[in-house]
Symmetry: C3
């Protein structure tokens, strides 16, 4: 594993090893010298303080040097090409480059042009992939259900534009989940299920929730609601919001996940978000240890 | 001591212990591993690079990991509630949260909702409190007058809106100062002295300065001067500025304090700010060690 | 050496010692505790993420604490004077202050007023000096030509406004280079060569390139091109761009340098920037180790 661009490249053994390593970091004191002397640079073209902070803490807790390349003041403002920025950063002796970009494939593009010594980590690109989110969601689910084989999982929200869903599905399918139900209004369902192996799709959220072990809710953008003919947040909530009544359709111990930040009262009711079945804060905690595992896997070899 | 929200909760012994610890940090090499592995996050809703830098240096000099949560790019922009941001940060395994906010009581609100493992430090809230400023001012005064009992102290400026004054008065009163003179034009005096134990108030700065051991000047906002019927800075300076003539009314060794940044020629004359009685830069230096003492007190226990 | 403000103060022995130390850092593991407990603060009044990142990495790789003083949120916004900011930062126990400013002489001004314990490093001031750039360019050249004595060097671009050129010339002249050819359209040539010892000036780039060992290209600003009567980038490129044809006029092993970020197709053709004679990325790598050497030289003495 030289880069982490998408979860498609990882087989079940590779995924399991990363999850095991993350779980180990969660339950043991971090080896604060594992990445001593290594440099992790965060390069976010889309703002996301949460995800960036999670990567920064992961790097620091393993002893890496961390630098944030502040794009609002960067040379790209002066018209430097992205590849020139990449090679400049590499020349400063970079070990990992954590990239978020609103265009699909930009981290892969950087990885293709990166020096062999530099690991590129995709922190979310367009609608394509968000592999560390897929890993942390798989870890969160596994903490309650060590065997993925017989799980039933519903994912509800703007599936079509969701990099989170694409990475979640890829991880869960590879780990053996056979029943993944994508649910959304038509305008938010993908045109094809090719990128969603092992999935079925429907517009009926109540039906999709029947007997599921896990329900994963997605953050909704207001402009998407309007396009899906829900002009008001309350309309969307009535049809696709997860509230206590709907959650009762799932298995009694059904876990509720959401990648955050949540829109209270839109895609999720406050009592569900804060209720005993919510794993939302566990996801945040798992996010840090998953990113530690990824950085350790990519970097903790002789420099 | 789980949080530091206001100095009202601290008795003389607790204050003295913090000041002793700060003094120790000032005169000894910092124990750079005291907070190794602990995470201090700064969350400033009001800009203050000075105070933030002071906290960051305090954290680093004790070996803590420091992360600045950049609000200009944060999820709160996306409409996430403050409590959801708090719990998200906590889930990343935060040890201390240093908060500045323009609303009174916001740090206390966060502390009430924080996990038991997280210490909230108030870095200034509205007009309510600025406890580390109160501590650093007490430390600065004590370095010249170890016994607070017989001190006479004047505080001059916009007392009504000053969180600095409220915390200074609380610390000094608890430490035994019996004569604290608040001085300002009427529009800047508080409507009641309830929150100012041990204080008297007047509008006559010359009289207030008689024989004081310490004079603490406050930074003035231009809009406040106008409200107090001083349309020009020179007018305010003529009545409430500290210059050499006025300073001569105080005791010969009277210490001059100011929380900074100073408005030269408005509330303080340059020759006084830069003169031998000025302790302004000592205050800055004491600010770092006081914040080290606070973080050490709150965090340097088994995690 | 208490500060690094310009290279005029350094004789050949001092320059050589810095270059030797930088070369040592490039080829050996960094002594990560050399500057442990020391504080390096970056204070950039002009944005430059590249240069700032280079200094930050240099500081971290020697174990120093690093703080960026964020001017967009700083007290200077509140009207504090620059000297008050300086003294405030010093009082927080600063060891080095890395300053970039668009006015000539501002780092020297701060150095004159700084405490004796604080080292000021000029990270570029106006059109005056950029000493670490001069050092890294000299190091880059020396890696191929250990003896500077018989080198022929051409520098092409907006010489008149270039702090890079002034520092490059100063370093190369002191190190013994006798033939330095400044080349630019008239509007970009300096009015006098007083600040450019050992240099000749011309407007004919082809002639200037004859048999040179090194060609240093400068980044061009669009507004400067117009002032020099090149309304289009292509016009400038035709007369002063370095392409393969022109590079063939130099010696076969001629090194190509550029301080970055490059304008592809304006002052330099892409195939030259990316070609085998380009040292542009070596310059970036050398920038980090040169800054490590400067910080080590200034700070690695008993505090």
């Amino acid at each position: 594993m030289h880069h982490l661009l998408t979860l498609e490249d990882l087989d079940r053994a590779a995924l399991t090893r990363l999850l095991d390593r993350a779980e180990h970091f969660r339950t043991h004191a971090a080896p604060r010298d594992l990445l001593a002397g290594r440099t992790v640079l965060t390069l976010f073209f889309e703002p996301s303080t949460r995800t960036r902070t999670s990567f920064v803490l992961a790097a620091k807790r393993l002893g890496a040097d961390n630098v944030n390349f502040d794009l609002s003041r960067s040379s790209t403002v002066k018209g430097e090409s992205l590849l020139d920025t990449l090679h400049t950063l590499e020349a400063m002796r970079l070990d990992a480059l954590v990239v978020r970009h609103n265009e699909n494939g930009m981290p892969a593009y950087l990885a293709r042009h990166a020096n062999t010594g530099v690991a590129v980590v995709n922190a979310g690109d367009g609608t394509h992939a968000h592999p560390t989110q897929g890993l942390l969601d798989a870890l969160t689910i596994r903490q309650r259900h060590p065997d993925f084989a017989n799980l039933r999982i519903a994912i509800c929200g703007d599936i079509r534009h969701s990099r989170v869903t694409r990475s979640d599905v890829r991880a869960l399918h590879t780990l053996g989940v056979g029943d993944i139900r994508l649910c959304a209004p038509r305008a938010m369902l993908p045109e094809s299920l090719d990128a969603f192996p092992g999935c079925t799709a429907s517009e009926d959220f109540d039906a999709a929730l029947a007997d599921v072990d896990v329900v994963m809710m997605l953050r909704i953008q207001k402009e998407r609601m309007a396009a899906a003919q829900f002009p008001e947040a309350a309309d969307y909530h009535a049809h696709y919001g997860l509230d206590a009544r709907r959650l009762a359709l799932a298995k009694p111990d059904c876990q509720v996940l959401h990648p955050g930040p949540i829109n209270r009262g839109i895609e999720i009711a406050p009592d569900v978000a804060d209720g005993p079945q919510s794993r939302i804060l566990d996801q945040v905690a798992n996010g840090v240890v998953v990113r530690m595992a990824v950085l350790a896997e990519l970097l903790a070899t002789p420099a």
